[in-house]
Subunit: 409 residues, 2 copies
């Protein structure tokens, strides 16, 4: 492609829903995904929820011929689930693990164990440096009462900060992933306005796929229909975002999503639909500057809105830190009381053993259990408070900087 | 300073040893540090082990006049302990928490609870963009049998990667902190060769301070003398490192360390000596290029050496993951056995209760405790294995890239 004025790049993004033992027909689907990727020969493939390294290994073997370069990002107990396949050499990588990611005791949600992260892959195509980010943010389990909103906002903020700080030498920035946010949500607006990333769906010249670009749709046989009840068309939570940092322009010529079943089979690739973008990248004389003052005004509004939500989360976390701390202190007091009673009995101060031994021991064990659990939770919520405070302060600093130096935004 | 050909910058770095309830004469020393900083009027102050946010708050109030800009980095249960005071506006910040940082059950060492991190602060002085990093790596408790070496190497690697990826738009990079590594250690060599940072001590035109630039010296009344027995002069583990990224040169005109007691008192500022550097920064026509092939050769050697150490850590972590997993399975089997016995007794299969109730309950509680503990440890060591594997793979990729594209190094 050397010497051509326009570089065409085809990007594939999919949340593969490949959870060992839990995801339905996983191995079959991973095989289907591999077959399709080999057939379609994209330039860059960004996958999420490839939780099993064995699945990644199998894909790597299958795709070695057409995607000679790949990277799997490890993090957390299970892994980050993130991986990238590329037709072009991967020059460097970096992983950033989000500081907040749900609660370890919410076992039924499990996000905490995944070590949700953003992975960065740097590649150079026809002399253009691409910073390619892949991520998966905390899931939204209940939109009406979204207990994880502050955590997801912290993640969106950290994602934006990570992209801003690491992309300064890039010509083009690409982000693909399951952001678990609807297009109008505050987190998406925060991410977009703070990084300047554009949404391939809204910018695309041509679109083909599920209505409104939805990526979680009711007529996919793996989606939970009750969760999508309020959204008859489905929801759009998987994105390809992009921007040109230096003297380049990026245009999305075409955006597609998969629609239900994979060709020639009776099952879809995943419970999510894949997003496929065709981008045209062109060198230009001057860097395009958006109307800065408008951008800044929106940014200040969005950061203020996000900061309010983070503040709500902070107060909830402070309450939990307090109540778990109190519980730990109470358990400790009970234990001390028992110790005194036991010592008293040993010293013969009491006429006889006031409690039966069994109940006494059970109570002691219970108190120890509560003490350990409450202390762990207290420590956990202390971290949560600190990270929420840190984010709130960073946002405050950005708002201050926007007021003081409006042109640097 | 605008218009002057040379910018002079005075930097102060100190591990403050300000652990609440544990560090001797903490409040007095924090006050002394504040007094001295106010008197000396450095340009940038990088502090570590300011664990209490109250101490930071007090310093902020005291130093507000001469250092109007500051930032405290929050992370982990206790905090990162890192903060920066600056005479110049702080434009942006970012925190990166190291993926490995000791073990939660090593309570006597406590590093795990601190959420060891690297903090980045961006500032602009006379039109020159400075990326200032402050960090504190995992302590070395026993040099002969250093169980934390793989963790510290992962941290040194992540520190280098973080600096490389975030400093691409910077004119000058500064790093200050307690790296807990001697100058010739593999981690320091890895950090320096992978980032190109120079050591202010070895580069300084003038030096004044403890012999060999040591920052942990036996004649500081707070150091543990037995730990320094093999090093009669002390050890150098606190550093100021720097490099110019674009068309600038940085020269260290003077390096100083404190030497024991603070002026006019009978106590030192900390158990560490402070490092103070005076740098001269000058714009030049062309960026200075080191002899690349030599640098690359050294880099390949150092990465190979570090990778070997990470491999040793990986195998140890895999053994621990296995043994804790086995312990959890055994505890589960014991519990199941007890459940069967209890059910048998309830169903009247046994002639009588074969065990006394108390021992039976105690045994069950013990098994539950062991099960929970072993499972937590197993999860923890699983994360450790993943992060060590990830680092090893990144290092392998760098070695491959050095062989394939020697000029990109």
């Amino acid at each position: 492609m050397e010497g051509h004025p326009t570089l065409q790049l085809r990007i594939f993004d999919l949340n593969c829903w490949a959870i060992r033992y839990l995801s339905k027909r996983r191995q079959e689907r991973v095989q289907l995904i591999g077959d399709m990727l080999r057939r379609e020969r994209f330039d860059l493939v960004l996958l999420q929820e490839v939780w099993s390294e064995q699945d990644y290994g199998n894909l790597k073997v299958k795709l070695g011929g057409c995607y000679p370069f790949s990277h799997y990002f490890r993090s957390g107990v299970i892994g980050s689930g993130l991986c990238v396949f590329s037709r072009f050499p991967i020059l460097d990588t970096l992983l950033y693990q989000y500081s907040l990611n749900g609660y370890p005791y919410m076992l039924q949600h499990g996000d905490w164990f995944c070590g949700k992260s953003v992975g960065l892959v740097i590649t150079e195509i026809s002399g253009i440096v691409f910073n390619v980010y892949v991520t998966h943010l905390h899931a939204e389990y209940c939109r009406e009462k979204d207990a994880y909103l502050p955590h997801r906002l912290v993640q969106a903020w950290e994602l934006a900060q990570f992209i801003r700080h690491t992309s300064k030498a890039a010509d083009v920035v690409l982000l693909g992933g399951d952001l678990n946010m609807h297009p109008e949500d505050v987190g998406i607006r925060l991410l977009r306005s703070w990084t300047g990333l554009q949404d391939a769906f809204t910018e695309a010249t041509r679109f083909e796929g599920c209505e409104d670009g939805c990526t979680l749709v009711p007529n996919n046989c793996f989606t939970v229909k009750t969760e999508l009840m309020p959204f008859p068309l489905g929801i759009r939570i998987d994105y390809i975002l992009y921007k040109a940092v230096s003297s380049f322009t990026v245009k999305c010529e075409e955006l597609k999503t998969t629609m239900g079943t994979a060709p020639g089979t009776d099952i879809p690739f995943s419970d999510h639909e894949a997003v496929m973008a065709t981008l045209h990248i062109q060198r230009q004389g001057q860097a395009a500057g958006a109307s800065l003052s408008t951008v800044e005004l929106t940014l200040a509004d969005v950061v203020t809105e996000a900061r309010t939500e983070v503040g709500v989360g902070l107060r909830a976390a402070q309450r939990q830190r307090y109540s778990t701390g109190r519980m730990a202190v109470l358990a400790l007091l009970l234990l001390l009381l028992q110790a005194v009673a036991a010592l008293g009995a040993l010293a013969g101060l009491a006429a006889g053993q006031p409690f039966p031994k069994l109940s006494f021991s059970l109570l002691a064990f219970l108190a120890i259990g509560v003490l350990l659990l409450a202390t762990s939770l207290h420590l956990f919520h202390t971290i949560e408070v600190k990270m929420l405070q840190g984010t709130e302060e960073q946002m405050r600093m950005v708002l201050w900087a926007l007021q003081e130096h409006p042109s640097d935004g």
